[in-house]
């Protein structure tokens, strides 16, 4: 069995204590929520914090308020979110995203906060220490070269969280708390286009909660491309959130946010594509134009599952499918979207 490196475990009771412990630990410390990302990474020595600050016993990280809008504690497990029928009904895209994450046992452990702070992924990085030794490591950890783009000075590891693109599309806001105090920022501003420093979160900050926008009149969805109906991280995903000037699917678009996941080191907001839709009904023409504009932003590299060219080609159809669904066309027609839990067996049953 693979073993964790030696470490010290700290069990704070309050957010304040957790933030203080994190500040004390400095670069040696890391927060441990469900551990479904961090612990496997530690076993493979991708991350080697010496002090783990456990969030399990911390009070105040599990708020769940649903009124006109919603406030969700970072410590909520993914299963808890799925079991909340009112939350899922108010934000169907959220339900879709959460339900698509890994497998039921992992969703019982994995949390909202951990998902939003998920380490970026890459086929050259998510490997054991021994394996990485065999390629002499890479820029992200212990090495000097990026094997995906050897001429590049940066790391292109992939933002692979299923909830991150959705939160950016929704325009959700996250709260970060440190020993110094608290700050709130847009989900979009939490992410940085860099495979190594992928979060703007300072090392001493705890993500405490997420506030979603009002759900009345909101149309949101999430589609995920992956090989299998369970386990797999996205190789491409689309989160879309719209508000229309009217109740019907053919009403003009008032506001649109389209976000691509798993095509770069951060969730990629397709602002131009969103703007193209505003003021127009979701006609086939508008959808095609928006999909084309958004798909241009999909510049995946060869560091996830599936052939690169195919992943890139799938962006347009996936975006268009998401928009059609929001128009009210019903579940997407494409065979591959069965993987998104859209057709066939819903992968969201928990």
């Amino acid at each position: 069995m693979m073993r964790l490196p030696r470490l010290r475990y700290v069990a704070p009771r309050t957010i304040r204590e957790a933030a203080a412990a994190l500040a004390d630990a400095g670069p040696e410390g890391a927060l441990l929520a469900g551990g479904t990302d961090l612990l496997p990474n530690m076993k493979r020595r991708q991350q080697v914090p010496r002090i783990l600050i456990g969030l399990r016993g911390v009070q105040g990280l599990r708020v769940r308020e649903l009124g006109e809008a919603a406030r969700l504690g970072a410590g909520l497990t993914l299963s808890e979110m799925l079991r909340d029928a009112a939350l899922c009904a108010a934000y169907p895209g959220l339900r879709r995203a959460v339900a698509s994450i890994s497998t039921p046992p992992l969703r019982n452990m994995g949390t909202l906060g951990g998902n939003l702070c998920l380490d970026t992924r890459c086929n050259y990085y998510n490997q054991s220490l021994e394996w990485r030794k065999a390629i002499d490591f890479c820029l992200k950890k212990d090495g000097t070269i990026c094997w995906v783009a050897p001429a590049s000075p940066r790391c292109w590891a992939v933002s692979s969280s299923d909830m991150a693109p959705l939160m950016v599309a929704l325009g959700a806001r996250v709260t970060l708390q440190s020993a110094q105090g608290e700050r709130e920022l847009a989900a979009e501003a939490l992410y940085v286009d860099d495979g190594i420093a992928y979060l703007s979160r300072r090392p001493d900050e705890v993500l405490t909660d997420v506030v979603l926008p009002p759900h009345a009149g909101l149309r949101c969805t999430y589609l995920k491309l992956r090989r299998r109906g369970a386990f797999d991280f996205p190789v491409l995903s689309v989160a879309a959130a719209l508000r229309l000037d009217g109740d019907h699917g053919d009403a003009p678009v008032r506001e649109a946010r389209l976000v691509l996941g798993a095509v770069g080191s951060h969730p990629v907001l397709a602002a131009e594509a969103g703007a193209l839709l505003v003021g127009r009904p979701l006609s086939e023409e508008a959808i095609r134009e928006a999909a084309e504009a958004a798909a241009r932003l999909a510049k995946p590299l060869d560091n996830t599952d599936y052939a690169l060219g195919w992943r890139k080609r799938m962006a347009g159809p996936l975006i268009a499918a998401a928009l059609r669904e929001l128009r009210g066309d019903g579940p997407p027609p494409h065979g591959e979207l069965a993987r998104a839990g859209v057709r066939g067996r819903p992968s969201g049953a928990c």
Partner: protein, 813 residues
């Protein structure tokens, strides 16, 4: 003695090891723990090909908790599953041949200490150029990965002509030639390999290991450790899946045993998932060129097959695998003349070996896809084309394989009717398609791995006054249900239920030799041995009961746990009373049964691979949905029929069929043991692309379609109660049936597995540009210098009575 209708055989009874498995009580190797047990880890090579210049273990030896550090110096004697390929060392001595080759071992008080100490071992390597694939192996004879083999990096080459192949092609009205490629894949058993070695109180070695072949491990241990075999006991723990991946003796088993001997303490190792990918021995990637000559009505006149196998870094079963890529092409349809050329090369990757179907799914894929092309070109129904030229039963093939019963016609009828193939094939809307394919497989290899004239399987029975029957056999339960088959065969003969028979299996100290769970041999071979032992026991018990009851033994019936008079059924004894009577009469009761397969019909050199006491047959129709915008293939439903001869337990048999379908769909659609080379100007690395359960994509239950299984029963005289195998055969028709279904759905040929959406889309694009094209597959077959051809007259040419009738002899002018 009277024999009534079968009572146990054919019934869907709960398997004898079922309760332990579902309640979590089965003790797998890693569940075992002994007092004072130590833990072992292996240091594996991080370079793909190099000379070992130096290994400095001094720091590791001083590390806390470390009890022992071993290197190749402790293992001068090589081993390997085949006598002709003794090319492995328990730890590499002077050379590493792939990333993952073990170079050192640390034994410590816990896994953690062992792992930390591994990091302190300094190995100095002198790198050597690497060979990544067969083309490179053929192009670069130097550096040689091994100093044995044919020449350069060619491990094995074979060349046969059975019959007058040129005349066969001359008689053809059309000749089809295609190139195919079948990617390598690994077994992915849920249980990672684990071994616990200890010394018994006498100081003799005991090795518990999840092996499919305890007997061969026993031999390898005796050889490498230089111990008398009688001083070694190997206990095969129940395997949490094997599929061929646990049928070689492995490095970790031998090192663990040596460590336990040196330390006088129990030592355990459980491999990580990544290490299981390095043990591999999985499906060989095979490039194939297939030429088939046919008459206008589709009758085959000659066939020529070239195969090129990527063997990886060691021999393993590879020589046999090479023969197997050519051996079974002849047993489904009449092939009057057959040419086979096979070549296996060494590459700097984990060794390939036997995986479910061993060497035969690859050429089967080629043959069945090509038949689909032939059917279309000639305007024939693919089912009709096959039915018209099935191999006749009880006949010899062109390469001298003696087939027995053949239920293939019935299999084809079942799947064709069940799926509506005749009405729906070539008639479904674009995007939906049906594909048909057939196959055949062995029921046990006719020859053992090492030459000997002893039985292939033995069963020993012990009965006593308690009424208990204990069966001892070396056979190994790997999840396939062999313990149940053993109990069921004995129970049937003695009129008991399987749960009333205690089975003790897989233990070389307790049971007679059975060669192991490979080549689909256990049901047939162990089954015969079990029946023989049980029949002898029945005779003894009947004699005791007859005396006690005053009834002639010949009139006694064994049924329902009783022994009674057929003419006066209330007159009888309980089974325990009858055994007591026999024990009183004969003394302590014990019987044995042995099984030898019949000798092979072929006498030529190389005739040893392919013969089997019987052949099983399968047919499948797969229905798919293909999305033309994305290339996504969804398998909607699988209809599969398997000629099992006689079904011993339908629930177990269906489980094997469904499991085979599952594994085959993985190979057909996504699995690939893929490797990565870094840009050569920057690095010499050559690594497994994704040695993890998450990134090596194998289907989950969500990908599993509905499977409709038909078990075709036409009792095979050579099988126990008429039974044939079911563990491997049903995998074979699935990949070609998927490929044929994709063609039916969208008109593109994917002649290369796995059939991924990007390949389908590429072919669709090509077809959109040119409607006569639309294929993804290999484009060329490299030049290979073949050895002198072994020319073998077919049985017909040799005047053999059992020769298969020549095809369409009557219609020839």
């Amino acid at each position: 003695m009277s024999r009534g209708p079968l009572q146990v055989i054919g019934q869907s009874l709960r398997r004898v090891d079922g309760r332990a498995k579902v309640t979590g009580q089965t003790r797998f190797a890693d569940d075992l723990a002994l007092p004072r047990m130590l833990h072992m880890r292996l240091l594996r090579s991080s370079v793909p090909h190099a000379r070992i210049v130096d290994i400095d273990t001094s720091a590791a030896e001083r590390a806390p908790g470390v009890k022992l550090v071993l290197t190749g110096a402790a293992f001068p004697i090589p081993f390997g599953i085949l006598p002709v390929s003794q090319d492995e060392h328990a730890l590499c001595t002077d050379r590493v041949r792939f990333v993952g080759d073990p170079v050192a071992a640390v034994v410590a008080t816990d896994e953690w200490a062992a792992e930390e100490a591994l990091g302190l071992i300094r190995v100095t390597y002198e790198p050597l150029p690497t060979i990544a694939d067969p083309e490179e192996a053929l192009a670069h004879p130097e550096p040689r990965i091994h100093s044995y083999g044919e020449e350069g990096n060619i491990h094995k080459r074979v060349a046969f002509d059975f019959g007058d192949v040129e005349a066969g092609f001359a008689a053809a009205e059309q000749v089809f030639e295609d190139l195919f490629y079948y990617a390598g894949s690994t077994h992915l058993p849920l249980e990672q390999h684990a071994t616990l070695a200890t010394l018994d109180p006498d100081g003799k070695l005991v090795v518990y290991s999840c092996t499919q072949t305890p007997h061969y491990l026993h031999r390898a241990l005796a050889r490498v450790l230089q111990l008398p075999a009688a001083h070694i006991r190997v206990v095969a723990t129940p395997n949490g899946g094997g599929f061929g991946g646990k049928s070689d003796p492995f490095n970790h088993e031998i090192v663990c045993a040596r460590a336990a001997m040196l330390l006088g303490r129990p030592v355990k190792i459980c491999l990580s998932r990544e290490e299981v990918f390095y043990c591999h021995r999985g499906r060989h990637p095979v490039l194939m060129r297939l030429r088939t000559g046919v008459r206008r009505d589709g009758t085959i006149t000659a066939m020529e097959l070239h195969t090129l196998l990527d063997g990886g870094a060691y021999g393993s079963y590879g020589v046999a695998s090479t023969f197997y890529t050519g051996a079974l092409q002849t047993v489904t349809y009449r092939v009057p003349a057959y040419r086979f050329r096979g070549c296996r090369v060494f590459t700097n990757k984990p060794p390939c070996g036997p995986k479910r179907g061993h060497g035969t799914p690859q050429p089967r894929f080629a043959q069945e896809v090509q038949l689909d092309k032939i059917a279309e070109a000639l305007g024939l129904c693919p089912a009709e084309l096959r039915l018209r030229q099935l191999m006749p039963p009880h006949a010899l093939t062109a390469n001298w394989l003696r087939v027995g019963t053949i239920g293939l016609a019935e299999c084809i009828r079942k799947v064709v009717e069940g799926s509506g193939f005749r009405e729906r094939h070539r008639r479904l809307p674009r995007g939906r398609g049906l594909g048909l394919a057939c196959s055949a497989y062995l029921c046990g290899a006719g020859l053992p791995i090492y030459w000997n004239d002893m039985p292939h399987s033995g069963v020993q029975l012990r009965l006593d006054r308690s009424g208990e029957v204990v069966a001892f056999c070396g056979a190994t339960e790997i999840g396939q249900g062999s313990d149940h088959v053993l109990a069921a065969c004995i129970a049937e003969v003695l009129g008991l239920m399987p749960h009333e028979v205690r089975v003790v299996t897989g233990d070389t100290a307790l049971g007679p030799v059975d060669l192991g769970s490979y080549s689909s041999r256990v049901t047939l071979m162990m089954g015969h041995a079990a029946i023989a032992a049980a029949e002898r026991a029945r005779t003894l018990v009947a004699e005791g009961a007859a005396a006690r009851l005053g009834v002639p033994a010949g009139r006694l019936v064994f049924a329902g746990g009783r022994v009674f008079d057929a003419e006066e059924p209330q007159r009888g004894l309980s089974f325990a009373e009858a055994v007591a009577a026999a024990e009183a009469r004969h003394g302590t009761l014990g019987t044995v049964g042995s099984y030898w397969p019949p000798p092979a019909a072929g006498r030529y050199k190389g005739a040893g691979v392919g013969p089997s006491p019987a052949y099983s047959y399968s047919a499948a129709v797969v229905e798919v949905e293909v999305d033309v915008d994305t290339g996504w293939v969804r398998v909607v439903r699988v209809h599969i029929a398997h000629d099992i001869g006689r079904c011993i337990n339908p629930v177990l048999a269906r489980g094997q069929v469904e499991g085979s379908v599952y594994m085959a769909l993985g190979e057909a659609l996504m699995e690939e043991q893929a490797f990565r080379r870094l840009p050569s100007r920057l690095s010499a690395a050559l690594v497994h692309k994704q040695p993890s359960m998450l990134e090596y994509k194998s289907p989950t239950c969500l990908e599993m379609p509905e499977v409709v299984t038909y078990l075709v029963e036409q009792p095979e005289p050579a099988g126990p109660f008429g039974a044939k195998e079911v563990g491997q055969g049903p995998l074979l028709p699935i990949p070609p049936a998927v490929a044929n279904a994709v063609y039916d759905a969208v008109g593109v040929r994917i002649d290369e597995l796995p059939i991924t959406p990007d390949k389908v889309l590429r072919a669709l694009q090509e077809r959109a540009r040119n409607p006569r094209r639309g294929r993804v597959g290999p484009e060329s077959f490299p030049h290979i210098e073949w050895p002198r051809v072994v020319r073998v007259p077919t049985p017909g040419e040799a005047g053999e009575a059992a020769a298969m009738p020549s095809p369409g002899a009557e219609v020839r002018p």
